[in-house]
């Protein structure tokens, strides 16, 4: 590979990280709640994007491609997670309202509402969590469907159920 091509790859990655880096960090919140492990996951996601970028052939939008890579990495993390963390997925049906007191570490980092929203999203089943996170990133139903490999109607159904579950978990905040 020529030097200019190498620089191109670096520039491209730097641009992608500038553009989507914050979104990728937020995405890591959805797959891991422990700050130290989450930082590691963020790095793994960035690494996966770095490795995958040269294979991007423009079959979909760059945003779709980056989010897909990131979610796939998050999925691998969810598979390898120890049972102690896996409890996040075992959501009782219907959702029980979460403890309104935020974790002390979270208290230092986030406001009460942000921490509660994050916590509620982390407690959603994976299929709902992925849809919610992508919708919060302002992706269309079609883009979410393309990333996850499900139909648009399925996206709508999952989103509807996820919103109900989130509302229930967050309680009346108005």
């Amino acid at each position: 590979m020529s030097e200019s091509a190498g620089e191109g790859k670096h520039d491209r990655f730097a641009r992608v990280m500038r553009q989507y880096g914050p979104a990728l960090s937020r995405l890591a919140f959805g797959y891991e709640r422990l700050p130290s492990v989450r930082e590691d996951l963020s790095q793994e996601i960035a690494l996966a994007v770095w490795q995958a970028l040269p294979h991007f052939r423009g079959e979909c939008s760059e945003r779709t491609f980056v989010y897909r890579i990131a979610h796939n990495r998050g999925l691998t993390h969810a598979c390898r997670r120890q049972p102690a963390h896996a409890a996040l997925d075992e959501l009782p049906h219907p959702l029980e309202p979460i403890d309104p007191r935020p974790h002390p570490e979270e208290q230092a980092l986030n406001t009460h509402h942000r921490a509660r929203l994050r916590s509620a999203i982390q407690r959603l089943p994976l299929s709902y969590r992925q849809v919610v996170m992508l919708m919060l990133e302002d992706l269309s139903h079609a883009e979410v469907a393309e990333i996850l490999g499900i139909s648009e109607s399925n996206v709508a159904v999952r989103l509807n159920r996820a919103r109900k579950a989130l509302k229930q978990a967050l309680g009346d905040r108005s």
Binding site: R26, L75, H113, P125, Q130, R163
Partner: protein, 178 residues
Amino acid sequence: MSMDTELEAWQREWHSQTGPLPSLKKKILRQNLRTLAAVLAVCLCLTVSGLLAWRHRSPFMMGLASGMSFASLFVGGYAWWVRRGAWKPTAQTTLAYAELCHRRAVAKARTVRFSFYFLLAATLLLAILMGFDWKGLRARDGIILAGLLLELVCFRRYGQKKKREIEETKKLLDDLTE
């Protein structure tokens, strides 16, 4: 609060909780070091066993060195064979990737199980051979046998971990395809 206003409010809260951007260089360095350490460990084991066999020229050491080289090639070959079809997802979607994760977990578990039984057979064979000449046993033989037994325990525990990974990937796959 209407549904759209509610979503917008969640989006605002979600976007305001962005963590620091990851430092990729450290991660790449750690990953490279891990890979390098693993390759070096295997090379070191094979080189040391080869050198000892060449120095002592005893049938036992020659057998041990050949066995280690053969085992590395045999288990490596099996791992490669069992993972065919688990390199790339069938489609560029998260669902296809989840299926791939499951196939990989199954393949890894198979490799670990195969390695465990291979090692068990080698340990039993060695123990039998030592039993024939139990009067001439030395501390070195005991250390080698203890090392093999320890490795068996490690493989057993690793196999259980892989079994949990299969269950986890299956659960995630079911969750995504519901």
